[in-house]
């Protein structure tokens, strides 16, 4: 057990810090939250800067233009960029973190050549079309149909919670190619050009009042069969291959940000302006966030050895629940200063984090997974 980083890791950190200092000072101001054309330009411009500096596709293999970084370097990259308030991955999220790795693992040579370089350079924005109004926690029950018509599929259905749908060039879509097979075995993974006729994107307003997500309506949308990634009806497996790219680093940026917020709140003076109950609760939240930072390092340590322990399986549940408890304490500490969201990071975060225990596997689903896959408890009939 040691927290100290190796010399090689420290020099990676030093070089990154030096580069960030210059790159961030040259950055134009961040556009407004719902100015989507400008946001796309700003986020992809940052991706291009990362590419030029050799930090794009940090965790991708070098053979596909990535840097082939170690899990620890990946951790340091997310820590330093969050610490220095560099732009978050933004509209490049789906391309660099999910669709790209999926293509690397499962795509054809033509698919890789077409998309991977553009993703790395910030020239192609991806969205994700997985969830449906009737398929949330039970994602495999999705019903968007893809009927074979010669060398094309004909798509009909509706997707929801499509991140960045309004500015995406292409989407990774899960569709039903065999309605008669058991639900997990009739799904395929498609590359969908978002300018195809028959696609309608409607932004969805969230509790934040902004629209990171969209609903996508598909009516007789023609997609070449050549756009399928992996075998027909094998899409459920294809969509899970990216997990190994995460290597314990999924929540690093958010966690570093949370700890910064907590330290800022804790450093407000005078300390006795906060009553004892709030002080205890805030201290407990900080202890939890520090513990999750330690858990992140432990998970990365295991990823570096090519192993994975239960820590990786509990991280999402523990982080999202702890983050919400922290948000509650912030609201209480701010009292009536919590009545406005503008210029009020704590309150904005409190609203944003309402989604944490729901998105990407609700806490209740996480507990089922931990209970059944880690503890080996019997399944409840369903």
């Amino acid at each position: 057990m040691q927290l100290r980083y190796s010399e090689a890791d420290e020099s990676f950190r030093a070089a990154l810090r030096a580069w960030l200092e210059g790159a961030l000072s040259a950055l134009p101001p961040q556009p407004a939250r719902d100015a989507w054309t400008e946001r796309r330009r700003w986020d992809t411009d940052w991706q291009r800067r990362l590419f030029d500096a050799g930090y794009a596709g940090l965790h991708w293999p070098a053979a596909y233009g990535g840097r082939g970084a170690s899990p620890t370097e990946q951790l340091i990259f997310y820590e330093e960029t969050a610490r220095q308030r560099a732009p978050y991955v933004g509209v490049n999220f789906v391309g660099t973190l999910h669709a790209g790795p999926t293509l690397i693992e499962e795509g054809s040579d033509a698919q890789k050549a077409e998309h991977l370089p553009k993703i790395l350079r910030g020239e192609e924005v991806w969205c994700q079309g997985f969830s449906e109004p009737g398929a949330g926690s039970d994602l495999a029950s999705l019903r968007t149909r893809a009927d074979l018509d010669g060398d094309h599929y004909l798509l009909n259905g509706q997707k929801i919670w499509c991140s960045f749908g309004q500015v995406a060039d292409v989407g990774e879509f899960l569709v039903r190619t065999d309605p008669d097979a058991p639900k997990h075995r009739g799904i395929s993974w498609l590359i969908l050009p978002m300018d195809s006729p028959g696609i309608e994107v409607r932004p969805l307003k969230t509790v934040l009042g902004s629209s990171e997500f969209s609903e996508v309506f598909l009516t007789d949308v023609r997609v070449p069969v050549a756009n399928r990634v992996g075998a027909e009806n094998d899409g459920w497996r294809v969509t899970n291959v990216t997990l190994k790219y995460e290597r314990g680093t999924a929540f690093v940026s958010e966690l570093v940000d949370s700890i910064r917020l907590a330290e800022e709140l804790a450093s407000r003076r005078p300390v006795d302006a906060i009553d004892r109950n709030t002080s205890v609760d805030l201290g407990r939240c900080i202890a939890e966030l520090d513990a999750l930072w330690a858990l992140t390092k432990r998970n990365v340590s295991q990823a570096s050895r090519g192993t994975a322990g239960p820590g990786a399986m509990v991280m999402k549940l523990a982080y999202s629940e702890a983050r919400q408890r922290f948000g509650e304490v912030c609201m209480r500490a701010l009292h009536r200063d919590a009545l406005h969201v503008d210029d009020n990071e704590y309150v904005e975060e409190r609203l944003r984090t309402l989604a944490l225990t729901i998105a990407a596997g609700a806490s209740q689903i996480q507990r089922n997974i931990i209970g059944e896959r880690v503890l080996g408890l019997p399944r409840e009939p369903r």
Binding site: R284, L292, A318
Partner: protein, 308 residues
């Protein structure tokens, strides 16, 4: 950076675990701490780890196992004193409750800016006929006699002592999870193992989650003790480790009792021993709430990123 056990630490963990399994099974735990148990642990090197060149992180690995096996006794103070005597700390502030008084070689009492060594035989105290934890006898004194000054590092007690106590709590939380999961797999109601019901399954998932989070915090604090970063971050991680490990031990004790149902309320089932020990340790080295306040106080101080 590596927060996983090294090969040597895995061997250390497995070595102490197999020793405890063979020599201090739960029946012997129930009989309580005595000199024979101390001598056996001392013979295995438990109290001389530091003198023998082991790191604090190694000590954490050993104390986690002592917690898992619910080993009673003044373990942390005896290791910190490290001179082969059985030692515990008491405060002069009433109410004065002294643990394991009859087994002690020396009682350490804060005073005069340091600690005094008090002869346990000179202490007038009334033993409780019904201690909360049957393995932790307690006696109440009205006052404590003066003693001779003794070299006993207060900062080390505040940091390493807190983390080793947290390691014991981590062990309790871990073992409680194991006991509850095993029971939930075999106990059948409504024609099914109760662990298949989500209402029970989710409690067990939370027990594991608390344990894994606590383990990371305790290991990280153990590494911090060895590496001596800035004082603020060191103290913060030490106090924080006891917050999450202490909360995990008590919460898992309550959850395990619930999973065991009526059996969890019996003297025969071991769960209450672990929960009661968790409550005892909650009073050592500040409570969870007290440590949380200390975390809050230290978190406002500047830190250097990358050093923790």
């Amino acid at each position: 950076m590596d927060l996983e056990l090294s090969d040597d630490q895995v061997a250390l963990r497995d070595g102490i675990a197999s020793l405890l399994e063979a020599r201090i099974p739960i029946d012997r735990v129930r009989a309580g701490f005595d000199r024979a148990m101390f001598d056996e642990l001392a013979g295995a090197g438990v109290f001389s780890l530091r003198a023998d060149g082991f790191s604090w992180a190694d000590c954490v690995v050993v104390f986690e196992q002592l917690g898992r096996f619910c080993v009673p006794g003044p373990l942390v103070t005896s290791l910190l004193l490290g001179d082969g005597r059985i030692a515990e700390v008491a405060s002069r502030y009433p109410p004065i409750w002294i643990e394991h008084l009859d087994a002690l070689d020396v009682l350490l009492v804060a005073g005069g800016g340091g600690f005094q060594a008090v002869d346990p035989k000179s202490v007038e105290a009334e033993p409780s006929s019904w201690p909360l934890d049957p393995c932790t006898p307690v006696a109440r004194a009205e006052q404590l006699p003066e003693g001779a000054p003794i070299e006993f590092n207060r900062t080390r007690r505040d940091t390493a002592g807190t983390v080793l106590t947290a390691a014991l709590q981590l062990g309790l939380a871990d073992r409680l999870t194991e006991l509850a999961v095993a029971y939930a797999k075999e106990r059948v109601q409504f024609d099914r193992p109760i662990g298949s019901f989500q209402a029970v399954k989710h409690m067990l998932a939370d027990m594991l989650t608390r344990t894994e989070v606590a383990r990371a915090a305790v290991y990280s604090a153990g590494a911090v003790l060895d590496e001596q970063p800035s004082a603020a971050i060191k103290h913060r991680l030490c106090y924080g480790a006891k917050v999450v490990a202490g909360d995990a031990a008590v919460a898992n004790g309550k959850a395990a009792t619930q999973v065991f149902g009526g059996m969890g309320f019996t003297w025969e089932v071991d769960v209450h021993l672990y929960l009661k020990r968790a409550w005892v340790l909650e009073t050592h080295h500040e409570s969870s709430d007290g440590n949380a306040e200390l975390v809050h106080a230290t978190a406002g101080e500047p830190r250097i990123w990358g050093d923790s």
